[in-house]
């Protein structure tokens, strides 16, 4: 009986190993070089897959930018920083964002009006909304990217976009002027080598 079991496991295991080796070899043989440019742009995007750029996700937008069919300034959650980074990769002039978003926004659920339908939870691309059926939902502001995808599905319109409160624990030094910082870094490095 034990021998039977041993044979069964051995046969299945060896066969699966063989199949795996065949697939590993063929994945090397049929390796596809992805478009390196769109890979780079995709890495810069926030991967919220929110679709506010008008493309069905971050990857398609990256492909479109790499193919010069889309501008660099459509990523809303990524904001200005992402736009500058993409413009840098593409070697084009930075453009103003689609909508001037001076302040980062977060969603806020008016809990006394929430009916607990869970529709906004399903819509949230970053799982920043917690709640259970027929219970109040609420937004974890730290995780919310302000993508506004939860507004539309809400049947009672109880979600507002509010300015992200600036709390002490989230405050950080403002980002340095990238170009000047770059120059400074180069100087320091050349100094270091001397």
């Amino acid at each position: 009986m034990m021998v039977q079991l041993f044979y069964a496991l051995l046969a299945l295991g060896l066969f699966a190993l063989f199949a795996g080796v065949v697939l590993a070899i063929s994945s090397k043989v049929f390796h596809i070089e992805g478009d390196p440019l769109s890979d780079k742009i995709d890495a810069l995007l926030p991967q919220t897959q929110c679709g506010q750029c008008g493309y069905p996700g971050c990857r398609p937008y990256a492909d479109a930018v790499a193919a010069h069919t889309a501008d660099v300034n459509h990523c809303v959650p990524g904001g200005e920083r992402t736009m500058l980074a993409i413009a840098d990769v593409m070697g084009v002039e930075p453009k103003a964002l689609d909508e001037e978003e001076a302040m980062p926004m977060v969603a806020f659920i008016r809990e006394d009006e929430c009916i607990g339908c869970t529709l906004c939870i399903k819509a949230c691309p970053v799982d920043a909304i917690v709640g259970a059926p027929k219970q109040y939902h609420t937004v974890i502001s730290d995780h919310c990217t302000g993508c506004v995808l939860c507004l539309e599905p809400c049947p009672v319109d109880c979600i507002d976009m509010i300015a992200k409160p600036e709390l002490l624990e989230h405050w950080s030094w403002p980002l340095p002027d990238t170009q000047r910082a770059q120059v400074g870094l180069e100087r320091r490095e050349s100094h270091h080598h001397d």
Binding site: A11, L12, F15, A16, A19, L23, S26, F30
Partner: protein
């Protein structure tokens, strides 16, 4: 009967008389899913032909040299699924490399060949009927050819129907399913062709 005539009968019965889609009702998902355009239907047909033929020969070999000697017949399904999944992965990589356009056209239906019940059905029926190696290969190829024939014919019909004035209530899947039913009725006409 000579060997050649034997093979011809097997092929004919697998393609027309015992057509997997229209008389055994296996593999309906890709039949309805990928038949929108003739181009993708042809691509899918080739992919299924490749997978089905290889899967039926590979599963025959596994049955004969692994499962029967070790008395592991109860592992038949999992072994066959493993073979099919590997082959599908392999052909997916190959199509991605050779023809990215076809890869995009087939989309989700390409990995779904794994769960195409016709492929597993052919492999299991082959062992049930205790076919020889050559017969199994031919049976697999014939079944795939039948699948391809029906899929391409059906996609042609659907392309023609695009411009037809279909009543509002029948638009979309309804008229597609009715057409598929009529095709199945038509294929019943082949049932007396070969005695199997």
């Amino acid at each position: 009967m000579s060997a050649f005539a034997d093979f011809a009968v097997i092929l004919l019965s697998a393609v027309l008389v015992n057509n997997y889609v229209l008389t055994k009702f296996l593999g309906i998902c890709p039949f309805l899913g990928v038949s929108g355009k003739t181009e993708t239907a042809i691509g899918m047909s080739f992919a299924v032909m490749f997978v089905m033929t290889l899967a039926s020969t590979a599963s025959w070999l596994v049955q004969k040299y692994i499962l029967l000697p070790l008395d592991l017949l109860y592992l038949q399904t999992i072994f066959f699924i493993l073979i099919i999944a590997t082959l599908v992965q392999f052909i997916e990589m190959m199509i991605h490399k050779v023809s990215p356009v076809l890869y995009q056209g087939l989309g989700i239906y390409l990995p779904l060949i794994t769960t195409n019940c016709a492929v597993l059905g052919v492999a299991l029926l082959n062992v049930q009927q205790e076919n020889t190696f050559m017969t199994s290969a031919l049976y697999g190829f014939g079944a795939a050819l039948g699948f391809a024939l029906v899929l391409v014919l059906f996609s042609g019909l659907r392309e023609r129907m695009e411009g037809a004035p279909v009543p509002e209530a029948f638009k979309g899947s309804a008229v597609t399913l009715i057409t598929a039913g009529m095709m199945s009725l038509a294929f019943l006409g082949f049932s007396g062709l070969v005695k199997v």
